[in-house]
C-alpha cells in the first residue's frame, strides 16, 4: 500500500511538471523574438548588404565616414526615449550625456561636419534615409514592412531575428 502511494505521488508530480512545461512552452516566446533585435537600415539604392559590428560602431562614432563606393555616411538617429536610441547607446557604451558630449567634441575637433540628424519619429527617419544616399539608421524591424522603402542590411552576416544577430 505504501509502495502504491509513493508511485501515485510520483505520477502526480510528473504530470504536473509536464503540464507546467507545456503551458510555459505556449506562453514563452522564442529566444530571438524575446531578444527584440533592432534592424540596421540604409538607403534603398545603397550597394551595402552587410556590415561588421565593429564597422557599425565606427559609423555611429563618426570614425567611419565613407562607404566603400565613396558616398559619405549620413547618420540618422532616433531621439532620446526611443528603443533605437537605447540600443545605439548600448552599442557605443555611452550614456545619453556622454553621447551628446562626444558629438559636440567630434564637431569641435573637426572630425565631423555636424552631429547626427536626430529624428523624433520613424516616419522622419524613413524620409531622411530616402533623401541621403549614404544614410544609415537603426529601426524596429516591425516597422520595415513590405512597401517601406528601406533596405535592411545584415550585421556580421545575420538579419534581425536570426541567431547570431548582434544588434539588440
Amino acid at each position: 500500500m505504501r509502495k502504491r502511494t509513493v508511485r501515485g505521488e510520483s505520477i502526480h508530480w510528473l504530470c504536473s511538471i509536464l503540464m507546467v512545461c507545456m503551458a510555459a512552452s505556449l506562453s514563452v516566446p522564442s529566444a530571438s523574438a524575446q531578444r527584440k533585435d533592432i534592424a540596421v537600415v540604409v538607403n534603398p539604392n545603397s550597394s551595402v548588404t552587410n556590415i561588421s559590428f565593429a564597422d557599425l560602431r565606427k559609423c555611429f562614432l563618426g570614425e567611419k565616414r565613407t562607404w566603400p563606393g565613396g558616398a559619405p555616411v549620413k547618420l540618422i538617429v532616433r531621439a532620446p526615449g526611443s528603443r533605437e536610441r537605447i540600443i545605439l547607446l548600448r552599442i557605443l557604451a555611452m550614456s545619453e550625456s556622454e553621447y551628446k558630449q562626444y558629438w559636440a567634441a567630434q564637431v569641435f575637433r573637426g572630425e565631423a561636419d555636424a552631429e547626427p540628424f536626430t529624428m523624433p519619429s520613424f516616419g522622419m527617419v524613413k524620409e531622411a534615409i530616402k533623401v541621403f544616399p549614404g544614410a544609415i539608421s537603426l529601426v524596429d524591424p516591425a516597422e520595415v514592412k513590405p512597401g517601406v522603402e528601406l533596405k535592411v542590411i545584415k550585421v556580421e552576416g545575420h538579419l534581425p531575428g536570426e541567431d547570431g544577430y548582434p544588434v539588440h
Binding site: C15, S16, S27, E63, A93, V107, R109, D113, M124
Partner: protein, 461 residues
C-alpha cells in the same frame, strides 16, 4: 471518484493544486494579452495617424523650402538645403518630446555649423610667490576670478568632400585684457576614410590631449590642462600650435584599427617662463615633421594606443616681456644676445580608454634637445595619468603629472622638476553646463610646494 479523492493523501493533491494555479495564472495572462491586443491595435492606429501627419508636415516643409529657395535665388548645395530643412522650426513636429534633440540643429545657420565654449574660474594658491599668471589669473594673489578662454567655433561644408573650419579664441590676459587668437583655420579635403587632408593653422597632433580637447574647457573633465599639454603661450613646454599640412586616415588593418597622422608645418613658438620671471623664450622654430600612429582595436571598444615622433629645429633666444632681446639664458644667468640652434625631437606614447563611463588617459613624453653645433644633450621627460568615473551627473577624477627638465637646459631652465596629484569632481548640471572643483598639489625643485584650489563653471552654447 470523490470518495477516492477523499481517501488520497493530502500531499498527493499538492502537485495538482500547484499545476492548476500555474495554468490558471498563465491563462489569465493570455486573456489579459488578448485584451491588450485591442489596446495595441488602437495604438498602432494612432501611430499610423501620426506617421500620416508627419508625412503631411514633411510635404509642407518641402513646399516652403522650395518657395524660400526661389526667393533667395541662391545656389546652395544639397547638404546645406537639408541642414536648413532640419534646422527650420516647422521641421519639429508637434508630437516631438520636449527635449527632442533640437540643439544640434540650432547650431546650424545657413549651412554654417557654429558652437561656443566659455568658462568662469576662481583659483586660489597657498604661495604668494609669483608663478606665471595664465588665462587672467593674477600671480601672487590670494585668489581671484578670471574668464580664461572664450571660444567660438565655425565650420561649413563647401562641397561634398571639402569644408572649412575656424576657431576664434578670446583669451584673458593681465588686467582683464583679451587677446584674440585664431587658434584654428583649416581647409579640409576628405578623399575617403584613408586620406583626409587639412591645410592651415591647427593644434599639433603631438599626443592625444591636444587632439581630443583643443581649447574647450567644457570638454575636459579637469578644470585645467596638464602642464605638459598646456598651450605654449601659457607656459606649456610643447609646440602646440602650427601652420601647415596635415594628413590623417585609417590604414587597412582588420580588427586592429590602425590610423596614421602626418604633419608638416611651421610652429614658431614663443613661450613665457613659467617661474614668473617675465621672460619669453622665442624658439623661432624651423619647419617641423610629425608622424604618428594609433590603434583602436575592435576587441576593446574605447581603447586607443598610439604614439608620435616630432622633429624641428629651435633657438634658445630669450626676450623680455616687451620683446627686447636678451640672449640665451643658461642656469638662470643671462649671456650675450647670441642664440644657438638646437635639434628638438619629441616622442610621445599614449594609452587611452574611454567607455562605460570610465575615462583613463595616460601619456608620456621624451623631449630631446641637442645643439646643432655639438655639445651637451638634454632629455626632458614628462607624463600625466588621469582617471575618472561617471556616477550619474558627477564624475570624480584624479590626475598625477610629472615634468623633469634640467635647469642647465637653456630651453627649459624655468621648468625644472614639477610633479604632483590633482583631485576633484565635475558635475554636469545639464547638457550645456558643468561645474568643476579641483585641488592641486605641485612639488617644485628648489621652490616651496604649491597647493591650489580651483573652481570652474564651464559651458557650451
Amino acid at each position: 471518484m470523490w470518495g477516492r479523492l477523499g481517501r488520497m493523501d493530502r500531499s498527493a493533491l499538492l502537485p495538482l493544486v500547484v499545476a492548476f494555479l500555474v495554468l490558471a495564472s498563465l491563462a489569465s495572462g493570455q486573456s489579459a494579452d488578448s485584451e491588450n491586443q485591442k489596446d495595441i491595435s488602437s495604438l498602432q492606429q494612432q501611430i499610423k495617424d501620426l506617421q500620416q501627419h508627419d508625412r503631411e508636415l514633411q510635404e509642407r516643409i518641402k513646399a516652403l523650402e522650395a518657395k524660400q529657395k526661389q526667393a533667395d535665388q541662391k545656389d546652395q548645395t544639397e547638404v546645406r538645403q537639408t541642414n536648413q530643412e532640419t534646422a527650420s522650426p516647422p521641421a519639429q513636429p508637434p508630437a516631438a518630446p520636449a527635449d527632442a534633440e533640437v540643439s544640434p540643429d540650432l547650431h546650424i545657420f545657413r549651412g554654417i555649423q557654429w558652437r561656443g565654449f566659455a568658462e568662469v574660474d576662481y583659483k586660489v594658491l597657498n604661495q604668494h610667490t609669483a608663478e606665471l599668471g595664465t588665462y587672467g589669473f593674477v600671480p601672487g594673489s590670494s585668489g581671484n576670478f578670471y574668464i580664461g578662454d572664450f571660444d567660438l567655433f565655425l565650420a561649413s561644408r563647401l562641397t561634398g568632400r571639402s569644408s572649412v573650419l575656424a576657431e576664434i579664441d578670446f583669451e584673458e590676459q593681465d588686467a582683464q585684457a583679451f587677446k584674440v587668437d585664431l587658434r584654428r583655420m583649416l581647409f579640409k579635403y576628405e578623399l575617403n576614410d584613408h586620406l583626409k587632408l587639412s591645410f592651415g593653422r591647427n593644434q599639433t597632433y603631438i599626443g592625444y590631449y591636444n587632439w581630443a580637447f583643443r581649447s574647450a574647457s567644457w570638454l575636459q573633465t579637469t578644470a585645467d590642462r596638464p602642464l605638459v599639454m598646456e598651450y605654449s603661450s601659457n607656459g606649456g613646454i610643447l609646440p602646440t600650435q602650427a601652420v601647415g599640412i596635415l594628413a590623417t586616415g585609417s590604414i587597412p588593418s582588420g580588427k586592429f584599427g590602425l590610423n596614421y597622422v602626418a604633419e608638416y608645418g611651421s610652429a614658431d613658438t614663443i613661450r613665457p617662463d613659467i617661474n614668473g620671471d617675465g621672460l619669453l623664450n622665442d624658439e623661432n622654430n624651423g619647419n617641423y615633421v610629425n608622424l604618428g600612429f594609433f590603434l583602436t582595436p575592435d576587441r576593446i571598444p574605447g581603447l586607443r594606443i598610439g604614439g608620435s615622433i616630432y622633429h624641428d629645429q629651435i633657438s634658445d633666444l630669450v626676450l623680455t616681456a616687451n620683446g627686447a632681446t636678451i640672449g640665451t639664458q643658461a642656469g638662470g644667468t643671462n649671456v650675450p644676445p647670441e642664440s644657438e640652434r638646437w635639434n628638438q625631437t619629441i616622442v610621445n606614447g599614449h594609452v587611452v580608454y574611454i567607455a562605460h563611463g570610465i575615462e583613463f588617459l595616460n601619456e608620456g613624453f621624451l623631449i630631446r634637445h641637442a645643439p646643432i653645433g655639438g655639445g651637451e644633450i638634454f632629455n626632458t621627460s614628462a607624463f600625466y595619468s588621469q582617471f575618472s568615473r561617471a556616477f550619474g551627473a558627477i564624475r570624480p577624477f584624479i590626475r598625477y603629472q610629472y615634468v623633469n627638465a634640467s635647469l642647465e637646459n637653456p630651453i627649459y631652465d624655468d621648468v625644472g622638476l614639477r610633479y604632483g596629484p590633482s583631485f576633484g569632481a565635475r558635475y554636469d548640471a545639464n547638457d550645456y553646463i558643468a561645474l568643476k572643483v579641483q585641488l592641486d598639489r605641485l612639488a617644485r625643485r628648489g621652490l616651496p610646494d604649491l597647493s591650489g584650489l580651483h573652481f570652474q563653471l564651464s559651458g557650451t552654447f
